[in-house]
Symmetry: C2
Amino acid sequence: MADHNALPLVILAEKFASLPGIGMKSAQRLAYHVMSMDTDSVKEFAQALVDAKTKVKSCKCCQNLTEREICPICSDSERDRSVICVVEGPKDVTAFERTREYNGLYHVLHGLLSPMDGVTPDKLRIRELLARVGKGDVSEVIMATNPTVEGDATALYIANLLKPLGITVTRLAFGLPVGGILEYADEVTLFKALENRNNM
Amino acid sequence: MADHNALPLVILAEKFASLPGIGMKSAQRLAYHVMSMDTDSVKEFAQALVDAKTKVKSCKCCQNLTEREICPICSDSERDRSVICVVEGPKDVTAFERTREYNGLYHVLHGLLSPMDGVTPDKLRIRELLARVGKGDVSEVIMATNPTVEGDATALYIANLLKPLGITVTRLAFGLPVGGILEYADEVTLFKALENRNNM
């Protein structure tokens, strides 16, 4: 915004523009929108920002984001404590929970190995995973990182650390997405689907 | 977000999703992004929200948003005080200022007439415009609302109020946008461009 604009509006627009996926034009529109909200709603929004940052921490067990010491999934006695699904981030936990089919626990790495970007094993929550597995209740660890270079590398790295502990380490199945169209599948996906074919 | 997510994160995502143009998926991504910002930045963001809402008000003269009593444009003695450009919102002031060609004053209506949506003349800052013009320094009022049904209706309504005061009321020129391609122009624009043709 040009300098004839009210300074607090310019500052707010810049804050919005610093968020991922919001350009300067959208940021200005959002700043004007805030002006049209009632004062209480704006104060609640401001409080929600501070609360999310200050009240949310990592679960002591699975490292997922939670406002408690131990997250609801880890403290749920109905959950199968012998299986741990290892994921990159909290979003992936949400994705698995949406399936309503998985009843084990999770472990959130908070990233994937990427030495070029300075993400070395000590930056991820791998130590905490080894400590959990070391306690002996776990029989299977499912590596559920994305099927990308970093996801595969991270899965392989952790699998190699876990195997000496005598634990089953599995990887998510790769194949055609359900409802997908064969002719649009990329070669690698199609090859994986062929390789992992099942009896009917 | 499902209920296994940390409540403060769910609340923050809902706040983001209540903004225009931000869906639930983007809102979740933004909420996670806030978690990765440092605490001071988050607090500054929260403060910027409250500041924009509480410190910014309408200029007593032109009704544009400002943190002062009289906005920088209205208090600028270099400006031509005999011309007022009437616009729908603060965004339009920014657009005209970017041209660096207009040196008069503005008047911000904060909306366009739309009786169907309950926006009647008393909801806009028309009374304030008449008061300004009534003081006698103004010789021309430029109606610079959008060339839409509401914009045209609002311009016509205000023009009819101003003409009895013996003031020149003008409307922005309509024609081909500069750099535009003739074959892609809509019929109405092309007709206006033909109708308002100039000597070369």
